[in-house]
């Protein structure tokens, strides 16, 4: 009898327990911290599902960057504790919400238990097609993201541009063009600066490494970009560097670099390989890596911009 099932059950109970805490906690910030812990554990669950690519994304984006975003918001709003969000819900609403939640969760459990056997899968087809458009990529997930379903990936990068603009657009009119508020305190602690100076270069190397191995092993532009973004944010927290002005030309170019290069490569498809978003067999791998490099840049810039928030007019 293996220990592994017990590990899985313990992990599952922990994840659900933290989720319950996130929902049930009285205190706003306690709930946020519960969610951050939950995100960490979720990365472990993904490893157990044989999804290291997703685990890496979850660790970097779902837990890391989202954690900083939520902790910042939770701490700022937590200062003005509950009471201003409106009256707490009545019993009828509680019963309704509980019944609906139970119904949906119960139906989902029932369905998951009767999912068809054998499960349908596109894995063999994806592997077969790897001889064609996804040529030479050992990591099937990268092949799916950049080749078979490249259109989704490109549009998702456009979504990121819109999200950044949406976050910026929340700011005040007179602040437009300025930089977002700094991420760190005015006089950063020595320990923060030291940590940033040590961590950021190592982290950048690791980020690029994870991007680079992504063609053949778990990793890729998303995960590498998210780590680079985190490192940039750490440097900004230590005030080694500042959030850029929202009208900085280089920032905007970097934000659109990924989708723009993707779009151009997609448009060039008919010339290269006879179809939009198709890549010629012989050059598929270099082209895909080329596109991914720009996506890495865009992600590394977009995530910190999303966390840094709208431009801030007040000069320090």
């Amino acid at each position: 009898m293996s220990v592994l099932p017990f590990l899985d059950v313990a992990l599952a109970l922990l994840v659900v327990g933290l989720a319950v805490w996130t929902i049930a906690a009285r205190d706003l910030f306690a709930s946020v911290v519960g969610y951050v812990a939950y995100g960490l554990l979720l990365a472990l669950v993904w490893v157990r599902l044989y999804a290291p690519d997703v685990a890496l994304t979850e660790a970097a984006v779902g837990s890391g960057v989202t954690g900083v975003l939520l902790i910042t918001a939770g701490k700022r709003l937590g200062a003005a504790r509950a009471g201003e969000a409106g009256p707490s819900p009545g019993l009828a609403l509680k019963l309704f919400a509980g019944a609906l939640a139970l119904l949906v969760a119960g139906a989902l459990v029932a369905i998951i238990l009767i999912l068809p056997d054998p499960a349908p899968s596109l894995a063999p087809q994806a592997a077969a097609a790897a001889d064609g458009p996804g040529a030479g990529l050992g990591n099937p997930i990268t092949a799916v993201l950049i080749s078979y379903r490249s259109f989704d990936t490109m549009l998702e990068k456009v979504v990121l541009i819109l999200a950044v603009l949406g976050v910026w657009s929340v700011g005040a009119d007179k602040a437009w063009g300025a930089a977002p508020a700094p991420l760190g305190r005015r006089n950063p602690y020595g320990a923060t600066v030291f940590l940033a100076q040590m961590l950021a270069p190592v982290g950048a190397v690791i980020g690029v490494h994870i991007f680079w191995v992504g063609a053949d092993a778990p990793g890729g532009a998303f995960q590498g970009g998210a780590l680079l973004a985190a490192m940039w944010m750490i440097a900004m927290m230590a005030r080694i560097t500042e959030p850029p002005r929202v009208d900085a030309r280089w920032l905007r170019l970097a934000l659109v670099a990924g989708p723009a290069v993707f779009l151009i490569a997609g448009l060039a498809g008919p010339l290269m390989a006879g179809s939009f978003f198709a890549f010629p067999h012989a050059f598929a791998k270099p082209i895909i890596l080329f596109i991914e490099a720009f996506m890495l840049l865009s992600i590394a810039v977009a995530l910190p911009a999303l966390v840094a928030g709208p431009p801030n007019g007040r000069s320090e």
Binding site: Q125, P133, V158, L162, G166, G177, V256, A273, F276
Partner: protein, 500 residues
Amino acid sequence: MMPPDPTTPGGALLVLAILLPCAGIILSFVLGGRNAERVALGLTPFGFALACAIAFHVASAGKPIVYALGGLAPPLGIALRADGVSAVMLVAAAVILTAAGFYARAKFATPEGGPESRSALTFWIMLQAIWAALTIIFVGGDLFNLYVALELLTFAAVPLVCIDGRPETLAAALRYLLFALFGSISYLLGVALFYGAYGTLDIPLLAQRVQSTPIVWLAAALMTGGLLAKTALFPLHLWLPPAHANAPAAASAVLSGLVVKGSFFLTLRLWFYVLPALSAAGAANILGALALAAIITGSVLALRQARLKLLIAYSTVAQIGYLFLVFPLATGAHVWSGIGWSAGVMQILAHAFAKAAMFLSAGLLAEALGHDQIARFAGAARALPMTFLTLGLGGLSLMGLPPSGGFSAKWLMLQASVASGQWVWTLPVLAGGLLAAGYVYRILTPALSEGDIMLKAPPKRSREAIALGLALIALALGFAPQGFFDLLEIGRPLAAGTLQ
């Protein structure tokens, strides 16, 4: 073994129609300032031409046009498909977005050499993003691709709601965002279940494979629930009136006229294209009942509003109800379901044009008078005849009086309910018309009464003309020839020709 490439002639137009606004977003964002406006407006003729070219191809081929991206056929690749109804929707969206763009120049223009402004950059980019998202929604053939399009639509629409930055608009935008996010995630869960059951997300492939199993029903219920929240069907309509009433007029026109139609269109795709094999009379009747409730609630609330823009927004809640009557009236392979289908699409179009025209007029009115309190409209019709003519013509279509697209839609709905023996659905159609007459009357009566009114600034003729033009299109839809209804049938599963 690879399935053959399903691409048809003209399919490349679909890719271009999507990439054009995407490229516009990228260019506007990088060039910034006044260039954002130049790019957005400069691309409109091309977008419109592409939409017309797609419609022409579909009409002349008599069957849907298809493009397999990357030369990869589904299930591995993503296919784009335009059928009759997509073609019509593409053209309608192009017209309304172009109109809204030119109308908005007065508010969101950046002066030559002036600094970039927050609201202008946001508006011009989000306008193009809505265009891109709607185009994908109308021609997307893959459920996950459509999910990304839904998110694109959300991220484009929410900032438009709070573009003027007042706290109540921020609250409205936040509420809208939360509803929309719930909607997308619920939709996505359905997508996961479909993939788990059938290993594909391509709409025609799924349509061949689906059977009436619990997993399909749960997936359909989750996706429908999510889409209803995004479409603001009663009782999930609470977010809509404040969001649509607080946005700038040009944005309101697009949000009310088009954006809610995007998620509604996906509901149509789901039930009529993915799940035609299901005998879904029960589900259709539930949607019909919600539609009835939406028509009554929305209209009654519209009657009670003091502000014109809120009144028009509540009228949208009611008119969305009409849209959902298409489910009981067109589900299944009956002789009458074609009539119900035509009625549903006609209602989308008529409402889109009429509502856009009314919101644009309401914006002109608010600018000219400095307020939009209906009670203080006395004498306004004499001062602003063209604006009130537009409001009246739009109202005509909402009421369903001939000749108008609204009349055609409601007339076809009545025909379909009588032909199908579902007499109960004649009730909301007729009652909704009466209530609409009530609230349109409430706008026009004070305006037509005597009174002295001071205009802060007379509206520009060209902007009035844009609104009037949209209202006239809503009327002209009432004269749609048979060929138009034949076009709507192209590619519809269970359409008359494909029966047996």
